[in-house]
């Protein structure tokens, strides 16, 4: 049919963070069982799964974005995509998380407009140091 368009690069998620999420979850699943061991292979599998999940969600959101004849994938696309791939329960927490994030970082940006200018200059200069949530650039 078509060639697989996804380049399976070795970009992986940091093991430590994945491990922490798993551990946190387990400790809430069974608080008394404080020493559940995670097999090394299992951790890799979690990492890989998450990575594939990103691919999957990205592809779906991208399709939705293109359908709306837009170039830039936005939050709405992601939310719609989550429902399409049958993870609608994620949408709520994601919205909360996003608002929290905006709240925490909106204050910073507002208080330092010269900083904003600097950022803009950097971006037009072609070099964008990703501060927090860099805008999409090709």
């Amino acid at each position: 049919m078509e060639t697989g368009k996804v380049v399976a690069e070795a970009e992986e998620l940091p093991k430590a963070i994945v491990r922490r999420v798993v551990k946190d979850t387990l400790s809430r699943c069974s608080p008394e069982d404080s020493d559940i061991i995670i097999h090394k292979d299992a951790l890799l599998a979690f990492s890989e799964s998450a990575r594939i999940f990103i691919h999957y969600l990205t592809a779906t959101a991208n399709d939705i974005c293109k359908e709306s004849k837009r170039q830039t994938m936005n939050a709405g696309d992601v939310f719609k995509a989550l429902e399409d791939i049958e993870f609608p329960e994620f949408v709520g927490p994601l919205k909360v998380s996003l608002n929290e994030f905006k709240r925490k970082n909106g204050g910073k940006k507002e208080g330092s407009s010269p900083n904003k200018e600097v950022q803009k200059k950097r971006k037009t200069g072609g070099k964008s140091t990703p501060k927090k949530g860099d805008t999409g650039e090709k």
């Binding site: 049919m1 078509e2 697989g4 368009k5 996804v6 399976a8 690069e9 998620l13 940091p14 963070i17 999420v21 798993v22 946190d24 387990l26 699943c29 069974s30 069982d33 020493d35 097999h39 292979d41 299992a42 599998a45 979690f46 890989e48 799964s49 998450a50 594939i52 999940f53 990103i54 691919h55 969600l57 990205t58 592809a59 779906t60 959101a61 991208n62 170039q71 830039t72 994938m73 936005n74 939050a75 992601v78 399409d84 791939i85 049958e86 993870f87 609608p88 329960e89 994620f90 927490p93 994601l94 909360v96 998380s97 929290e100 925490k104 990703p130 949530g133 860099d134 999409g136 090709k138």
Partner: protein
Amino acid sequence: MDNTTTNHQPQPTAYPPHPTNTTPPPGGAPSPTPFHHLLQQQQQQLQMFWSYQRQEIEQVNDFKNHQLPLARIKKIMKADEDVRMISAEAPILFAKACELFILELTIRSWLHAEENKRRTLQKNDIAAAITRTDIFDFLVDIVPRDEIKEEAAGLGGIVGATASGVPYYYPPMGQPAAATGGMMIGRPAMDPATGMYVQPPSQAWQSVWQTSATEDGSYGSGGASGGQGNLDGQGLRKEWMAKHRMDVNESLSCLKDHVSVVEFLYLEFLLRE
């Protein structure tokens, strides 16, 4: 202290609650009320302090946790050539979505480990979670067939022995899949013969699952949108997998399995806390 965080709701004073009247004052006096009272107060304050600290940390940690590095997430996203521009919010959403996803996968894997009375989370637990959960179909490539076979063997021996743990490879095409009892192989992208990726047994199971799911008020992974939505989701997965298949040697069809209503309720409870 607003805790609108979803996952990290601090437990009320999880620290070992000191009984407030333990230590008798060193003086040995019969009832030194002021000193004792002071001690009590201090202990309470200490408790409150730690409880507050913990909440603070958890709030900060929430963002530390979901800082799966945004740049890396973006790189992973951009591995898909189709993707052009990504808004600033997208990687943030993806980071959190990943976390939630890992959470869900962890819970389901852990259930399997518990069933087998293990305190070690192994890869085959994850394999089991993947095969059992319809919405995790897109992950079926990750776990080698032998892992899934272990799960199958436990369920009623659909597949043959796998003691050696060596994944055996089918020739990519032309394999009479039906002969092996419902196992389909090959990559849909290259194998027009089979044409479809999702197999009948899975669909049969799916309808069973849906029925039980709707009873407890739609877990959200299929019950919510009814039959129609579910099929669309499935179609999407098929399509996506056909287009974006990773380069894996073989794939194994889904197995019949059931997830009991109890498990669903439990999962629902955990995820809604």
